[in-house]
Symmetry: C2
Subunit: 112 residues, 2 copies
DNA sequence: CATATATATTCCTTGACGGGAATATGTGAT
DNA sequence: ATCACATATTCCCGTCAAGGAATATATATG
């Protein structure tokens, strides 16, 4: 999993843009107007999102319509999935662990 | 959805830490040794992850055992879920959209 | 071609962040 | 109490990214 994907989503304005595009494709100007961000900043943010392959562009006349790229989110989904598997298998032992801090797992080294 | 969660995961070392903790709880020293990062940096990164509520700590003797916090990942999961719903309902219309860029959706304004 | 509109790009400044080094805090052992 | 080990915190510095303002590029329209 690539950290740059998360870095792209880690900027508040960009996360707003993504959640806005979740509804449907939008032009740069519409995004700027809706979110109250100046157009140059929106273009820059969209550039970052595009390099992270989270969005893609299509031209309609002089407008540029940005839309979410499903692949990136599917990748995120499968990455997350690899975590949730472990919750189930460890949910009980985690509870045990939290309530018995004086007895670390056998794999832990002992104090020298 | 909070952007700071993504920002925390957007730093390569921190993402490494999270993926390492996916296997199981670890002490600060073990994380530092495994990833080849100096201990102070690891402590700082763990601080960020903790403030983002991605991890939590427990003490075992003089060691501090960090472990992933399931809630944050479940929240991520449900957030992602709200996207995948839309893929299905729009996967076809998205294909149409991409192949007919000269005909924007009816909600788009016409050029003035 | 001239003009208006939509978007991208550049330059600049400022603030935040990560890494290194040193030090502080806490805890166990003798 | 003293020492050793584990972790956290502080300070400093270099870098990078975000926002503002201005400008460049592209495209439609008359």
């Amino acid at each position: 999993m690539n950290a740059t994907t998360f870095a792209a989503l880690g900027e508040p304005s960009r996360l707003q843009i993504v959640e806005l595009l979740r509804v449907g494709p939008l032009s740069v100007g519409d995004i700027a107007e809706t979110l109250g961000i100046r157009q140059p900043q929106v273009s820059k943010h969209l550039g970052v999102l595009r390099r992270s392959e989270l969005v893609d562009v299509g031209a309609v006349g002089r407008r540029r319509i940005y839309h979410l790229r499903g692949e990136a989110f599917e990748e995120l989904g499968s990455w997350l999935g690899s975590f949730e598997q472990l919750w189930e298998t460890r949910l009980d032992s985690l509870g045990d662990f939290l309530s018995s801090m004086d007895d670390p797992t056998p794999s832990q080294k002992k104090p020298r």
